[in-house]
Symmetry: C2
Subunit: 370 residues, 2 copies
């Protein structure tokens, strides 16, 4: 299976200046089908042949304008009463280009596949569109989606287009993992090392820069660009599962992605596994560019690292030797931040193992409905 690349779909054509309402349904469908392999769309459903010896992995995510991103293209005034993804009011603020909406929506789903130890087979894309959506916006959304998918040779397997007062993107991703080798949340054991890939809090800082350009004045232009990119173009860690399986084809691997934050992932794993965790405060994966800034307090920095969310990295609980082997392979890209313990709380500790503050809790993270 292959997918068309964005460069094959220049948006400088006769659809420029048109809105979704100007096109008939058939024209719209034909327009988005250009982004899908011809052998997979055009029927009531797509047909795939699963590989023998693999399990199928299925995950879904929905993103809503004004909640998870902000386009300014809502047909009604709905978005202006909504809160931004991190709890700030973002009336009318447009933080996300269509390419970024498509990329992030895709990356979020592929990140869930990575968290299961799987590799992507493809995604379905369902879209609710206000009639006032520019056709060019739609093209650019699909460019973002296929741009992210093309890194993994994964196609769009069809989907749906419908009218909606609010721009809504719903993706279901399919992946495959060798039979019985999926990573679960419920298999962490006391003594496991907790490995975190990448840095955390960068996406949250990038969002702050986008929402509030006065913030972060002491950050270099390069640092600002890096943080914004972390928010706009996250990379799912699909590189990590094959590496782990190369190091140990049959090890028990416990994992989650950090889409809802580092602390959330550790808490969810601990709850599902009936264990607790100690995280070393000094080993938290703070983005290098944020360590020196005067623009935020130590307390806010730690909060962003633990609860910021949307870094789309992996939080893994591994037997100590495998953890060390992984960190040695990934270098700067991974760190052992703590260990699984019997006591069912999750706590920050200092180098001496002394508890720092109250246990971490899910309530401190982002609540989608509050």
């Amino acid at each position: 299976m292959s997918t068309n690349l964005p460069s094959e779909h220049p948006s400088e054509d006769h659809f420029e200046g048109l809105y979704v309402a100007d096109l008939g349904e058939q024209q719209l469908l034909q327009r988005v089908q250009r982004f899908c392999p011809a052998n997979l769309v055009g029927d009531d459903a797509a047909v795939l042949i699963p590989r023998a010896g693999y399990s199928l992995v299925v995950t879904a995510d929905m993103l809503v304008d004004g909640v998870h991103f902000a386009t300014g293209y809502a047909a009604t005034g709905c978005v202006t009463t909504e809160q931004g993804a991190t709890g700030q009011d973002t009336p009318g603020k447009c933080t996300t280009s269509p390419q970024d909406v498509g990329w992030r929506g895709t990356a979020a789903n592929l990140s869930d596949l990575a968290a299961m130890g799987a590799q992507p087979l493809g995604i379905t894309v369902s879209l609710g569109l206000p009639p006032t959506t520019p056709v060019q916006w739609l093209d650019e959304l699909y460019e973002g989606i296929t741009g992210c998918l093309s890194l993994y040779q994964a196609p769009i397997l069809g989907g749906d287009l419908c009218r909606s007062p609010i721009l809504t993107l719903s993706i279901t991703a399919l992946g495959e993992v060798l039979l019985g080798q999926q990573f679960l949340r419920s298999t962490a054991q006391v003594g496991d090392a907790i490995v975190v890939t990448g840095v955390h809090g960068a996406s949250r800082a990038g969002l702050e820069l986008l929402l509030n350009p006065e913030w972060g004045q002491d950050l270099s232009p390069q640092a600002q660009s890096l943080l914004k990119r972390a928010h706009q173009r996250p990379t799912p860690r699909l590189d990590v599962p094959p590496l782990l399986r190369q190091l140990d084809p049959t090890a028990r691997i416990t994992g989650m992605d950090s889409s809802d934050g580092l602390a959330d992932a550790v808490l969810q794993i601990c709850r599902a596994s009936g264990v607790g965790a100690r995280l070393n405060r000094d080993r938290l994966p703070i983005p290098e560019v944020l360590r020196a800034t005067q623009s935020l307090s130590e307390q806010t920095l730690i909060h962003w690292v633990l609860y910021g969310g949307e870094d789309f990295e992996l939080i893994l609980c591994l037997p100590q030797p495998l953890a060390e082997a992984l960190v040695s392979q990934l270098g700067q890209q991974a760190v052992i931040i703590g260990k699984i313990v019997t006591d069912p709380t999750v706590r920050l500790v200092d180098e001496g193992g002394q508890s720092l503050g109250a246990p971490l809790s899910l309530e401190q993270g982002f609540q989608h409905f509050s």
Copy 2:
């Protein structure tokens, strides 16, 4: 795999009177996970083991409050400016119970699987919810979803819950079909008989009764109830593919479902196959209860039968002997309405083969974005 039945989830509990905004995200997730098999949810993704010798079939549909159904629960005034699914203005009219929204959304997806000749493996359910949605509404939606799924022992494979100003239901269905035995749109051949299952126009008439209770006064209460049920609780024709394969395990079968109308399905098949069709006006599958009513003109009746949509039956192009064998098996449940011809138009004809009126066209059906 098994799914819990609605009766195991009484909604008379301590959540009565509460709204989605009153529950934390974890509580909401736990609440809907009761409707999913425990071995499939609770991780970042669900894991299935596909059967050897089968292809995987994937389809997706999105339903939006005020466009595809009407709850009256929108957080904002968005729905009042929207048009109903059939083009009427339906400000504030509540035509769909939560159970029906769930049932119809599920049936629409399973119908796409039936149109491919597949059987369901399960669905993902993503929901955009206004914070003002009653928790009981959410429970009843899932009762409708699992009610429909339980007819086929298909489970919910997870999904997503998020906040949205407008109630949005996005379903992706997975199915399986024996390798190489899927039904396509592009394989109709000149001389094929066109078989239609069930009746058409019943869902459209049912919607009319729900939107406009003054209409259809001369229909008996039983007839009215039958038509409303056709709209609220359509049954996907998953019974037909196994029957066809029993009659002929390897025949070339061309098919689509009639979700967008009988005429739309014939037109789409003809376009994809590079052929045309002649449909016998006197064999159109008109619901018996509508034949005698004075409440609608002959012209409107034919329009509803051809373009009404949402009957979720199958339109099949089959070699004549297989068509006859199927109709003989299904009895009143299927009829040969015409044949595939070389001339690329789709026309109604009389018993003598004489054309009646202009060719049918997609433009006469429902346009989702107009």
